[in-house]
């Protein structure tokens, strides 16, 4: 599934948030979106998901304009994984995943055997089928994100939009969840993920896009655009990128020289 964004602009009243943004996401591509707070990452996602109406420009899914999709049809193409999914009411893991199949059933219908099988398969894909009977409140944060990923897979959509999916997770779970997301790329899913952790971009993504001052600062292959200069422009601190055992890591220079 291919996504094209052409000359997209958006403003909240007089406050410009996105200015002439253009990029493409190819099938099976993992694109990481980096930018500081308020750079417009979340706004871009809201536009791609049709939550906000664009000011100008075009969003095309498989060459079809986004506006021509109903909510239900759009849900079959694009799935959204938020930073944190919470619910006042405590549903079971299975029911949570089953909600993903809603875009595949009649408007007045309920999930039947087929949808239940899809939900179970989605749980099995992430090796969490043993949690299906548990209540969402009784599982860990890392497991919950996997459940939300399973729900997205149950939607049957092939473009996944992930808004800082690991922001609320501990160090180990961040890595595990990112690994799982990365494995989806190999199955042909197109992924666009925002993060505040540049190493996630270095380790997992094919392409990186930097958003700065409402515009695209750089967009290209990870190795080409993940440079010290770009990172410094975005985060306002000097950051070196060093390579160890064939893997790159970010190394911020601390201003306080005594700091260890």
């Amino acid at each position: 599934m291919r996504l094209d964004v052409k000359n997209l602009s958006f403003a909240y009243k007089d406050h410009k948030v996105l200015d002439d943004v253009s990029f493409s996401l190819n099938e099976g591509e993992f694109l990481c979106l980096l930018g500081k707070n308020g750079a417009g990452k979340s706004t871009l996602f809201k536009l791609l998901l049709g939550f906000l109406k664009k000011e100008s420009g075009e969003i095309l899914i498989e060459d079809k304009k986004l506006e021509t999709y109903s909510r239900k049809l759009l849900a079959r193409e694009i799935a959204y994984i938020p930073q944190y999914s919470s619910n006042t009411f405590d549903y079971t893991v299975f029911d949570t995943v089953l909600m993903g199949t809603t875009c595949r059933i009649d408007s007045l219908g309920s999930p039947k055997k087929r949808e239940k099988r899809i939900a179970m398969e989605a749980l099995e894909r992430f090796n969490i089928s043993h949690l299906s009977h548990k209540l969402a409140s009784s599982i860990s944060g890392g497991e919950r994100q996997l459940v939300i990923l399973a729900r997205a897979i149950a939607q049957g959509s092939h473009i996944l939009i992930l808004d800082e999916p690991t922001a609320n997770l501990d160090y180990g779970n961040q890595f595990k969840v990112m690994n799982t997301i990365s494995s989806l790329k190999d199955m042909g899913y197109s992924i666009i993920l925002s993060t505040h952790n540049p190493e996630q971009a270095l380790w997992f993504s094919d392409k990186v896009m930097f958003l700065n001052d409402n515009k695209i600062l750089a967009h290209g292959n990870t190795d080409d655009v993940m440079t010290s200069e770009n990172l410094k422009t975005i985060y306002d601190i000097p950051i070196d990128i060093i390579e160890k055992n064939g893997r790159k890591i970010c190394f911020p220079t601390l201003e306080n020289k005594d700091a260890k």
Binding site: A75, M99, L108
Partner: protein, 348 residues
Amino acid sequence: MSNDKSRTSVDFRHDPDHPVTLLAGFIILFIFIFFLSFFVGRYPIKPITLIKVLLSKIFYIEPTWPSTVENVIFKIRMPRILSSAIIGGALSVSGLAYQGMFKNPMVSPDVLGTSAGAGFGASLGILLGLSYFSTSALSFICGLVAVILVTFISGKLMNQKTLGLILGGIMISSIFTSGTSFVKLVADTDDALPAITYWLMGSLASVKMSDIKFLIIPIIIGLLPIILLRWKLNLLTLDEDEAMSLGINTILLRKVVIFGSTLMTAACVGVSGHIGWVGLVIPHFTRMIVGCDYRHSVPISILMGSSFLMLVDTLSRTVTTGEIPLGILTSFIGAPFFLYLMIREGKK
């Protein structure tokens, strides 16, 4: 071991056969209370007589009972039992739908001001001497205005929606209640005032069979979309963005649910006056038993609410020599029970 234990404790919620068994259990309970309510009262009726009288409406049976028995069954008890069953079920399912839609287990037709709004509309209708239909329509409109105002107020408090809903509800309820007081102040003390006052306390003492149709038509219209959309109601409990991304038109769905729930509440208030707590307590109890999934909680809450209100109404006409207004009894039972639930939740 502890893991196994926690699994069994929630297993039933997911067992597809379990809600069916539960549903059957609640249907039996409903039927039991339904018939029990006919037997007890100041004029005792033997079960065999009841069966004979009921069957005599279908088959020809030589009457061996005095005509008073027939009057008590069809003119006095039948309308009360039917209306309490319908109102109990409707108030419970309205509360259940409101709670999911506002993503808040603390809301109910009372908390959101619907009952107060509908009460004001109905008392205004009585004051103006409007027809039954116009009074019901006015009651529905005022109930709807109340919910819309409360929703608007909570929308203004972006980060404190729960607080906004509850405070907004208190404020709007208070305005409508004051409106009702004003109506009572100007009402004719011989005619309209006693009618409004007694009706506001919440009572089914004067319900007639002809009232049932004013109850049943709006309730069917309000209930139908909730039954049909019960799976999607689950998605309304999610964050707005998530629900939309899963493919539902949240704005339209929310409007349909508000319309349905408010119509049901207004119809109930129009016939029985203010019967509090049912719409708050029964949905909680339903979720404790059957879990959150609306596919199961909608039918169970209807049966549980119906059975509860039938039982309470039977108590209201039998425990004392006089008649205790139903609204007073539901508060006496509902409020302490809700407090118990809150403390129980708090301990978890």
